[in-house]
């Protein structure tokens, strides 16, 4: 059953909802990348909570005008207007008062959300029954979604995606180096507003699917997941979009199978699963890779120190060092060097002397910059250079390995 949902074989409506959610997820991941890079991720929290009063007011207006209060385009329009006002409040508070941005976000978020909840309560007492469905905007629900609703979401997601593709260069320039961007004629204020407007678009479109409380997760988790895998902005945008789309797809498919499950939380949990996998397993930046790198480095340090101690006939006090040497067959349990150990130790000591000369000589500046006390000198200098240094040191020649 779940497999059928994943492969879009669960009827026309469910298929359309899944495609719409996936497009939304991709748009959210891609847009979120720029929020993250511009270090404005939290603003999206203010944006999303500020949608609620708009939803309430739009519902009331539509009922007063004699229409259906639940028409999605109208509700989304209301949400967009009120969250735009919330966004302006945040930027006004930050610019013209001494409040920092995080304080302004906290204030706007809670006040708008509180007001929205009051409105929803009023609506419930106003015309019982007809308000049913508005709570769906809190946590999202794709169950019983209409064909037209799905169309609005899919179209909105695709449009947002297109806008991001068009603006990706100026937005990247701005996020990396705002002053340079300004010197190239990018209007910094307007481009910042564009990033916010895109985040707002994703939020409003995603209200029905994920709900306003959790839409933030769709904007933030995919980019931080993507950051583990790459050092390039363009790749990060792609990976983030992929993660967002995948999570949304799984979430939508699941709630097609089990309509009682709220869609938003499922999407967020899928997204979180991808995040945890990346956190642990990503090459280079992943926790496991960092740990392994540290252990390997520690071994090299101990090995080197042990060899130098052997060469100079000093006792080895650290058990870890001794065990390493022993395992490599370079020393016996009592700390006395084996034949192989003596040869390696002599080489290590000689390398130290060579490094000393290299670091003192201006001519080897670029090589000296690589000195870390661990590297074999052959990895940095050519054979000719080494024998030239050996000439200067004097003593027995030809000790290279």
């Amino acid at each position: 059953m779940f497999w059928n949902a994943l492969t879009l074989q669960l009827g026309y409506n469910a298929t359309l909802v899944t495609i719409g959610a996936t497009l939304l997820g991709i748009a959210a991941g891609v847009t979120g990348t720029f929020l993250y890079l511009r270090k404005r991720a939290l603003v999206s929290d203010a944006i999303s909570h500020a949608t609620l009063p708009g939803v309430g007011i739009a519902f009331m207006l539509m009922v007063l005008l004699g229409g259906d209060g639940r028409a999605l385009p109208g509700l989304l329009l209301g949400a967009a207007v009120s969250s735009w006002i919330g966004l302006l409040c945040v930027s006004w508070l930050t610019r013209f008062t001494r409040l920092s941005e995080d304080a302004a976000i906290g204030a706007v978020l809670s006040v708008f959300f509180g007001f929205g909840i009051v409105l929803l309560t009023v609506i419930q007492t106003m015309g019982a029954g007809r308000a049913a469905g508005l709570e769906g905007f809190l946590l999202g629900s794709t169950a019983g979604m209409l064909f037209n609703d799905a169309l609005v979401i899919a179209g909105g997601g695709a449009l947002t995606l297109l806008a991001v593709v068009i603006l990706r260069r100026p937005m990247t320039l701005l996020a990396f180096d705002p002053e340079y961007a300004a010197s190239r004629g990018v209007n910094v204020g307007r481009m910042d507003l564009a990033i916010m407007a895109l985040a707002l678009a994703v939020t409003v479109i995603g209200l029905k699917v994920v709900g306003l409380i959790l839409i933030v997760a769709m904007l933030i988790i995919p980019p931080v997941t993507a950051r583990f895998w790459t050092e390039r902005t363009d790749h990060m945008i792609l990976i983030s979009g992929l993660c967002g789309g995948l999570a949304a797809w799984i979430g939508a498919a699941m709630s097609a199978v089990a309509p009682a499950m709220p869609t938003g939380p499922i999407i967020v949990l899928s997204s979180f699963a991808l995040f945890v996998l990346s956190l642990l397993l990503a090459p280079n930046r992943g926790v496991l890779a960092v740990y392994l790198r540290h252990v390997r480095f520690q071994r090299r340090v101990h090995m080197r120190q042990g060899l130098l101690a052997l060469a100079q006939g000093q006792p080895i006090y650290e058990g870890f060092t001794l065990r390493l040497l022993q395992r490599a067959g370079l020393a016996q349990a009592d700390g006395v060097a084996t034949d192989a150990g003596r040869a390696r130790a002599a080489k290590a000591l000689r390398d130290e002397k060579r490094w000393e000369l290299v670091r003192a000589d201006q001519a080897f500046e670029s090589a000296a910059a690589l000195y870390d006390g661990l590297r074999d000198i052959e990895t940095v200098l050519t054979g000719d250079q080494i024998s030239e240094i050996d000439q200067r040191i004097g003593g027995p020649q030809g000790v290279t390995s």
Binding site: K39, R169, A175, F176, A182, S183, G185, T230, E365
Partner: protein, 267 residues
């Protein structure tokens, strides 16, 4: 600008603006809050010259550059680039910001940063072609950073980061180069690499203006100086304007006489 002020500044500013000057600033005032950082400053950059902007900390050196580029909004004054307003001639300027103004953990490689210099050429939608990459590599070559093209920028030393910034500016193929403390906190090899590039730009007829801190190298690096301490203190060739008298005025006695004597010897 009041007449007394103009008189205080030594040479009275000329009313007309030389149309061929790469950068002519008139009556520029910039203020953060209620305190002017740059006050009614005139500056005329000579084409094909290398000019050092000199002054104590907080004297408005960087701010003057940023105002000229429209990065900060001036309260008053204007800047003309090759005789035209900034909007019409922005493409002829390349700016090298301070290294510290950027988050170096940003997910981008050295080559990507240099490609940012081609922003105008690439526009919004054009694809990056091999010849764009070639161009970026050639700029890296000029600053001796070709080997680092694929590194993440955070793995570079401070001096290498500065050279990448310079390569990005070179990619713009501009006529006027504005640099904000290009030698701050860089190693000797980088300092040499940067000054060599700047001098080769000058020999190609380009114009260079740099905010500069190290008074001992002014004579060997630059041919003109601009002394500023909120107000303009002096402007001219190194021989005319880089004098003990002007330095004393600019730094307000913060330089010991011994230091100034040494500068004289250095020249």
């Amino acid at each position: 600008m009041s007449l007394e002020l103009a008189a205080n500044m030594g040479a009275a500013p000329k009313a007309e603006i030389p149309a061929d000057s790469p950068l002519a600033i008139r009556g520029m005032t910039v203020s953060y809050g209620q305190k002017p950082v740059v006050f009614s400053v005139d500056m005329t950059v000579t084409e094909g010259s290398m000019t050092a902007i000199i002054g104590p900390n907080g004297a408005g050196k960087s701010t003057l550059l940023k105002a000229a580029l429209g990065i900060v909004q001036p309260l008053a004054g204007q800047a003309l680039v090759y005789g035209k307003p900034l909007k019409a001639s922005r493409h002829r300027i390349a700016y090298v910001p301070q290294r510290a103004s950027v988050d170096w953990d940003f997910p981008t490689r050295v080559i990507d940063v240099v490609l940012m210099g081609l922003y105008r050429e690439l526009g919004l939608l054009r694809r990056i072609h091999p010849h764009h990459i070639e161009k970026a590599r050639a700029c890296l070559e000029r600053v001796g950073m070709t080997d680092f093209a694929d590194r993440q920028i955070g793995q570079l030393s401070g001096g290498q980061q500065q050279r990448v910034f310079l390569a990005r500016a070179l990619a713009q193929e501009a006529d006027l180069y504005l640099l904000d403390e290009p030698f701050a906190g860089v190693d000797a090899a980088t300092e040499k690499a940067i000054i060599d590039v700047l001098k080769s730009l000058r020999s190609e007829g380009k114009t260079v203006v740099a905010v500069h801190h190290d008074l001992t190298t002014v004579r060997s690096y630059f041919d003109r100086v601009f002394l500023i301490n909120t107000r303009k203190m002096a402007e001219g060739t190194v021989d005319e304007a880089f004098t003990p008298e002007h330095l004393n005025q600019t730094y307000g006695g913060r330089l010991a006489t011994g230091q100034i004597d040494q500068l004289e010897l250095a020249g």
